[in-house]
């Protein structure tokens, strides 16, 4: 294990995070606050409780999840895309590091940043609505699993993308819609039967449901189903990354 390399990459990535800390924290915090003002207070006051939870509180886990997913994706994809873009990737490829070490350090750094942001948003939410977390360990588990899983996806996107548009494409066209339609702002049970069935194919639904359960003990699905789905995504992305490195896809000619 080349621990020096893992440490070097992780610190390098965290230094990048630190340089852009203000913008990377300020914008999610502002947008989350806006969600609370609009949905939580303005509209939410006219919406009845869902599963016995006030609407403002109900949307907290979904909003955090939304930030976690988008942040993990963009941090990880940018982290590996940028060296490809500038050409400095030559050094990584010529270094005595294993694929596992590369993934651990890049994904670890991206996940760290997302978790910090998630916690900041959680604290921000606490300013607007009274928070309760019934199952803190599960909450942390879902937080970790989600950030790692989607940082892996981000890593894959960063390797696949060969221009900045593609880098934005997947988060914008797929992940954000899936998150919005994944029960961030409503319970899946509120949907008509047909759409409810469609929603079952949206992977993000399970993440949000599980995360919400860890807060309030109510969920659209059994928490074990949520956990199993999350782990399944993790496995798919791990397998994809393994394939990328085995074939040198978009990294080595």
């Amino acid at each position: 294990m080349n621990l020096h390399a893992i440490r070097a990459i992780y610190r390098f990535e965290m230094a990048r995070t630190r340089r852009t800390l203000l913008q990377s924290i300020v914008s999610p915090v502002i947008s989350t606050s806006l969600y609370f003002v609009v949905f939580g207070s303005a509209i939410g006051s006219r919406i009845s409780e869902i599963d016995g939870i006030s609407y403002g509180a109900f949307i907290v886990p979904g909003l955090i999840m939304l930030s976690l997913l988008t942040q993990s994706l963009s941090n990880a994809s940018f982290g590996i895309y940028f060296p490809k873009f500038t050409g400095t990737i030559y050094e990584l490829l010529s270094a005595p590091v294993s694929y596992l070490e590369i993934v651990v350090s890049y994904v670890g750094a991206a996940a760290t940043k997302s978790i910090i942001l998630g916690l900041i948003i959680l604290a921000t939410a606490g300013l607007f609505v009274p928070l309760q977390i019934q199952h803190p360990l599960w909450m942390i588990l879902f937080l970790l699993l989600t950030t790692v899983t989607f940082s892996l996806l981000g890593f894959i996107i960063g390797i696949w993308a060969d221009n900045f548009e593609k880098l934005q494409l997947v988060p914008l066209l797929i992940v954000t819609p899936l998150t919005f339609l994944g029960g961030s702002f409503y319970s899946v049970n509120m949907l008509p039967p047909f759409w409810r069935t469609v929603t079952l194919f949206n992977p993000v639904v399970y993440l949000i449901s599980g995360f919400r359960w860890s807060f309030y003990g109510v969920a659209d699905f059994d928490v074990r189903v949520s956990l199993a789905m999350t782990l399944a995504f993790l496995a798919v992305f791990v397998a994809t990354v393994a394939w990328i490195f085995k074939t040198g896809y978009r990294l080595k000619s």
């Binding site: 080349n2 020096h4 390399a5 440490r7 070097a8 990459i9 610190r11 390098f12 230094a15 990048r16 340089r19 500038t86 050409g87 400095t88 030559y90 050094e91 990584l92 490829l93 010529s94 270094a95 005595p96 590091v97 294993s98 040198g248 080595k252 000619s253």
Partner: protein
């Protein structure tokens, strides 16, 4: 008496630092950039890989360093296979790439320290300081990389490559686009590195660079190594010499009697030039001088010039040996 014999035994017993066997590369486009390369690099030498643009120099280096996958063949670095023992092999190598690819926002110190860590070495500020001083980057250690000039960035890439104390240093066109004084500094640096036991492989299409620095020269053309020679041998073997005779009386034409020597007469008729191959058993100089004497052509001075590696190289690449 024992000492030289012993050191000879050690040198003779030491395998080559890099051994390339039957290496080929076909890119995804179907283009065959390397065609069965066999090449051994000796421990501690400066090896210049000389070849025109597109010959496959960067491809060869990139395979050895792990940036490009080989299609066929194998490479060993100090006995370690670059695929199966990639960790050991790569930790021995420092690479200065052809393209000036650098970070932008990091400080010089941070980016060089990063490289050391990436190559699996623990922090050693004293070594980093030494490298930065040698490369005249010490004053810039806290500057952001993007504020450096092109020449400084080139030196920064060298500093990064040296940060983990490699045994083998690859310099891919190190002086391309570098001004003359900096080039001289670079050569000086390379020589002093060799003195510390580092093996240096540099690619170049500037012949004067190979001529100035290399112990051995390899010429690559269209993905094939067409020649590997000690530089001195190469110049001796392939070198042509010219004998110029400054005449006492200008000639209007070359006398019939001297036709066999294929002489050239300068425009003003004041000098004759005779070209001969140095490796030939008989250069023909003696008989030429006798023939001149017999024809009554007197000369007041003579001089010989040797063709440079550049002439040899152009000849080689043009004719394909």
């Amino acid at each position: 008496m024992a000492a030289p014999a012993l050191s000879f035994a050690i040198v003779a017993g030491m395998p080559d630092i890099i051994s390339i066997k039957n290496l080929s590369k076909t890119y995804a486009s179907g283009f065959r950039a390397l065609k069965g390369i066999n090449l051994d690099i000796r421990r501690g030498e400066i090896f210049a890989l000389l070849g025109p643009n597109g010959a496959g120099k960067t491809t060869l280096i990139s395979i050895i360093c792990g940036i490009v996958n080989p299609s066929e063949g194998s490479v060993q670095v100090d006995g370690c296979d670059i695929i199966h023992n990639y960790r050991e092999a790569r930790s021995l190598i420092g690479l200065v790439p052809q393209e000036l690819a650098t970070d932008a926002f990091e400080s010089v110190w941070a980016t060089v320290s990063f490289s050391r860590g990436l190559f699996g070495k623990g922090p050693n500020p004293a070594h980093i300081e030494k490298v930065l001083r040698v490369l005249s980057l010490w004053e810039k250690k806290d500057s952001r990389v993007m504020t450096l000039s092109g020449g400084m960035k080139r030196r920064l890439l060298i500093a990064k490559a040296l940060s983990h104390e490699p045994k083998v240093l690859f310099l891919d066109e190190p002086t391309a686009g570098v001004d003359v004084s900096l080039r001289k500094d670079m050569w000086q640096l390379v020589r002093s590195l060799r003195e510390t036991g580092v093996t240096i492989i540099l690619t170049t299409h500037y012949i004067e660079e190979a001529e100035e620095m290399a112990d051995r020269v390899g010429v690559i053309r269209n993905g094939e190594i067409i020649l590997v020679e000690d530089k001195a041998d190469l110049m001796r073997k392939l070198g042509k010499k010219q004998l110029t005779l400054h005449l006492q009386q200008p000639l209007s034409h070359i006398p019939e009697a001297l036709a066999d020597y294929h002489l050239d007469l300068t425009e003003d008729g004041s000098a004759l030039t005779y070209t001969y191959e140095t490796q030939a058993d008989r250069t023909g100089i003696v008989s030429l001088l006798e023939a001149l004497n017999a024809a009554g052509v007197g000369f007041r001075d003579l001089q010989t010039t040797e063709s440079s590696l550049e002439d040899i190289f152009i000849e080689l690449v043009r004719t394909g040996q």
